[in-house]
Every structure is written in C-alpha cells, then in structure tokens.
Amino acid sequence: MGFWIYGERTEEGFHPVVLELVGVAQKIWPQPEEITVVTLGAEGARPVAEALRAYGVRVLWLHHPELSYFRDDLYAAVLAEKVRAFKPEVFLFGATSQGQALAPRLAGLLRLGLTAHCTALELKDDRLIQIRPSFGENVMAKIVSRTRPQMATVRPGVFPKAQPASVEGELIEEKLEFLPPSALKRRAVFSRPSKESPLSGARIVVAGGRGLLTKENFQKLFELAEILGGAVGATRPVCHMGWISEDHMIGVSGETVAPKLYIGFGISGALQHTVGIEGAEVVVAVNTDPEAPLMKRADIAVVGDATQILPRLIRRLREVKEGDHGT
C-alpha cells in the first residue's frame, strides 16, 4: 500500500483537494494500483467512499459510529494505527483546515517529518521531493523526509483533478471494533456563509499590483476582464490600499487560481502572491523592471509601463473583437 491520500469528507462528499491529490499521485507514482485513499466515517458515509472508486484508486474505508464527524485526537489515533500496520511510503493531505489539524497531529504521534503547503511534488529514486515556498526569503525549497511515510500537505487548487478511470478501484472496508477514547465532543455545528470568490473557476485572470500606481488605472482591469471574459485579481497591498475588495486577493492570504491565462500588471511576483497562480497555464507579466520575479517566471514578459500598456491593450482587443464580428 505505497501511496496514501487522506480522503477528507465534507457535507457534500469528498473535498475537491482529494481528487487533486489523486491526480498528482497518478502522475508521479509508478505503481498506480498502490494509490490508496483512506477515509474515515460512520456507516452512512459508504456512498461517498464508493464514489471515489470511479477514479481508479483503491479506497480504504474505516468506519465506526464514533467516526461520524472529524475529531483531531480520534482520527489521528486511528490513522496512526493503520500507518503502523500498512507502512505506506507516502501519505498526503490537503492543506485544508482539517488536513492541517490532522496531519501534524499524526506526524507528532509517529515522530515523522511533515512538509506543509507543497505546491509541487516530484519523485526521485523513491524519494518524494516536496517543493514549497519559503516566504521570508522569496525562494522555493526542495524538502525531503528521512522518515516513512513521507508526509506532506498540499495546497488546494494547485493540481488538476484526476479524471474518471476506465477500471474501477477496489473498496476495502473495515468496520473498526475498538476505538481509542476521544477528549473532544462536538456540541453544535454552524454553517459559515460560503464566500464564493469572484475568482473561482475563472479561465482568464487579469491582476494588478502597486505598479498600476492609481486606483483609476486599476479600475481599467475590469474593462479588460470584461472583454476577455475573465475575472480581476489583485495583490495584497492594493487590496489594503482600498483599490479593490479583499476577495479579489490572490496568494497565501487569498485565493488560488488556475486559469488558462493570467496577466499581471505591475506585480513584482512575491511568492506570497505567486503560490496562488501555480496552476496558471500561461503567465504574462507587464512590468517596467525586467528583473522582477514575476517577469522571470512569465511565459510572456512585457517590459513596459503598465499604465500605458493596459489602456492600449484594451483598445487593441476591442479592435480585434470588432474585426472578428465583421468576418
């Protein structure tokens, strides 16, 4: 049972990050039949566990009435026992609230290394290379673990989701007899107003940073977004300056986007921002400074004054669009 993935459940089924983890596992792990999603729950969660088989992965479903909701101590203790028994090589978690509560508790119990918030994973001679931003220094770090399983949490929204497979995976069901005691008891649950981000699912994102100089310039991004059928994103400082509301913020403290096209105007490309665009297919940067980090990572680096380029781009695209209509 080589490659384990924690199967976080939500009210609606699996958390989307589970399929992203399956996707990355299928890409890097040489024995696809060893990819296993481990999920805990009460008997009633069976359909959720069943549903994952369609992605061609093995599902290890551990159930007991006491596991009906997430409890840090109990879930970690159950997983610790299974890890000891099955000795997986890798164990990944989504870097969600639950994943970030559970993975470190498990790592602590088993005295294992754990790398947080990975944005890329590679496999090299059996070793999982865990790549994550090191924010203070604006660099990426490659991290390996001396202990097994190699544990990491992965930022949601970075990897593409797995696709349904032609062959169903097997379901291994285990009804747990004895559970360790839990010190935690849930008394009530409240739903949180789900703030659907204006950026979620956007295929094109046009984002602006301090280099746009004024709020008026920044507002032009909305025109551009409209022409392109995209959404507007921003860096943290411009949100704080009140150019746009914080739900447009991209990065560690904001949203993760994975559009086909991202255009950043006057954005330096601090890692706190760029972790939010790891999944973008084509990155365009517009900056007066050709050495800015975002210019270096861009597929198309436009050296120039964003306040000049943006209005001209809007005009040119309008022309192109009208031209299209003519033909």
């Binding site: 935690l184 680096a301 695209l317």
Partner: protein, 262 residues
C-alpha cells in the same frame, strides 16, 4: 488557572537577505518581531484572564537576542516570561521544535491551556500546535476563535472553511487561535515596568532534552536546496514602444488560442 502562550520570533518581512552566491539565508541580519498571528493567541488568553482570573506565561523558543520580544508580551499583560534557548535548538524543523516546546511545557506544568498562533508568517506551516499536543499526549484543536468555561469544561468555537463547530473538552489541551478580532495595545505603565522584568531562560539541559531530538538531528525533514522559481520553456520578452508591444502581445495570445471564449 494557568495559561501558556507560545510566541515565535520571526524575521521582519523584507529584512532577510539571501546570499546570492550560496543561496543560503542570512537570517542573522534580519530584524526580529513577534509573529503577528501569535498576538491573537495572547489576546485570547488576556480575555480569559480578565474573565476568570489566570496567570499567563509567555513561552518562546529562540536565540538570546529574541528575549526583548518577550517584554512586549509582558507589556500586553503576560505575568511570567520564559525563553527556551540553546545552541542545539538551531535548525529545528517543526517536529524538533514541538519536542522542545513540549519539554518546556512539562517544565512549566501544571497548566490549563496552551495557546499558539494559527501559523507563523515565516514558516507558514501551522504544524507546531498539533505536533506539540501529540508529544504531550494532550488533545489539540486548531483555529479556535473563542473559549468559555462551563462547569469545569471548556467550550471552544472553532473554524473550518465551510463550518464552525462548538467543541467541548477538558483541560489541559493545546489550541491554535484563529487570527481575527480586535487587538488591544499595551498599557504604558506595563511597558515601563517591563524593563525591570527578567525572563527565565532554560537550556536543553535544564529541560532534560534528548539532544538527538533537537535541532538538525531531531528534524526528519531536510532542505535539499532552495532556488528562485524559474520556469523552463521558452520565455518571450517583449519590449519597445507600447503600441508595438501590445500588437505583439495580442498576436501571441491569438496564436496560443487564448483570446477565444472557449
């Protein structure tokens, strides 16, 4: 009631330099500040102190030059200041750090609650809280935004992405605190008084730490290398007069099929 708030010294954003040749971090050159999210843990503790009466210990693992940051915690209302400092602690990853903190907490026990910030702004791992709880065999809860005591049991309100839950537990426990709500500034009187306050310093030996579990040797994760993200694949650089640049940009986007709605 004894509350222990863990505080981390972090480099002030923008003050860490990377050695351009070796790609190693020149951490010594950075100015240190209290990790901002930890302030919310302290704030929650101060609220509990006001409501129920409590002694608050501010606990920090860090180099000797981080000690002045503890005075800030005193100025804000902490009663006792403790620094865990030893050369063998350097290079600790989260597992080793949580081991050292757990040793420190044992030294300071009995306690009711250990409160930590949700994550640090330099590491951003959010791991040390639950890992410390695991070393101590205590329950852990993350992203707690409020706490009340009801007939000897604590009730925490805790945040997930889509839900909040109310959880009941008995002390002692280790909690991380959601950074939200107001922060009160320190009082001038306590600021002045903090100059006279000395922190207690504990070394690895004072804590009975197993050196094998501290620092680099106690850290199962190892940084292989750090690198500036550069991306393979050809990069187009466009420069020149804005009009021309825009024309070329538009044709490039068209070529790649990025301008069609589908």
């Amino acid at each position: 009631m004894h509350l222990i708030v863990c505080l981390k010294p972090v480099p002030k954003p923008g003050t860490v330099k990377v050695d351009p040749k070796t790609h190693t971090l020149k951490r010594e050159s950075a100015d240190l500040i209290l990790n901002p999210p930890d302030r919310y843990a302290l704030e929650l503790a101060l609220g509990l102190k006001e409501k129920y009466g409590a002694k608050i210990t501010a606990l920090m693992m860090g180099p000797p030059n981080a000690a002045p940051l503890l005075k800030e915690a005193y100025a804000l209302g902490a009663d006792q200041l403790v620094l865990l400092s030893d050369r063998i602690f350097a290079g600790s990853d989260t597992l080793a750090t949580s081991y050292i903190l757990a040793q420190g907490l044992q030294k300071l026990s009995p306690f009711d609650l250990v409160l930590m910030g949700k994550a640090s702004i330099d590491g951003e791992t959010a791991q040390v809280g639950p890992e410390t709880a695991a070393w101590l065999g205590l329950p852990s809860l993350t992203q707690v935004k409020s706490l009340v005591l009801e007939q000897g049991r604590w009730v925490a309100r805790r945040v997930f992405e889509r839900i909040e839950e109310e959880v009941e537990f008995r002390a002692p426990a280790v909690l991380t605190v959601e950074p939200e709500g107001e922060l009160w500034p320190p009082s001038l009187k306590r600021w002045l008084a903090s100059r006279e306050i000395k922190e207690k310093v504990f070394s690895a030996e004072d804590l009975g730490c197993n050196p094998e579990l501290c620092g680099l040797s106690g850290s199962p994760t190892q940084v292989l290398e750090v690198f500036s993200p550069t991306y393979e694949g050809e990069r187009e650089v466009l420069s020149g007069p804005p009009e021309e640049v825009v024309d070329r940009l538009v044709s490039l986007l068209q070529e790649r099929g990025l301008l069609k709605g589908g």
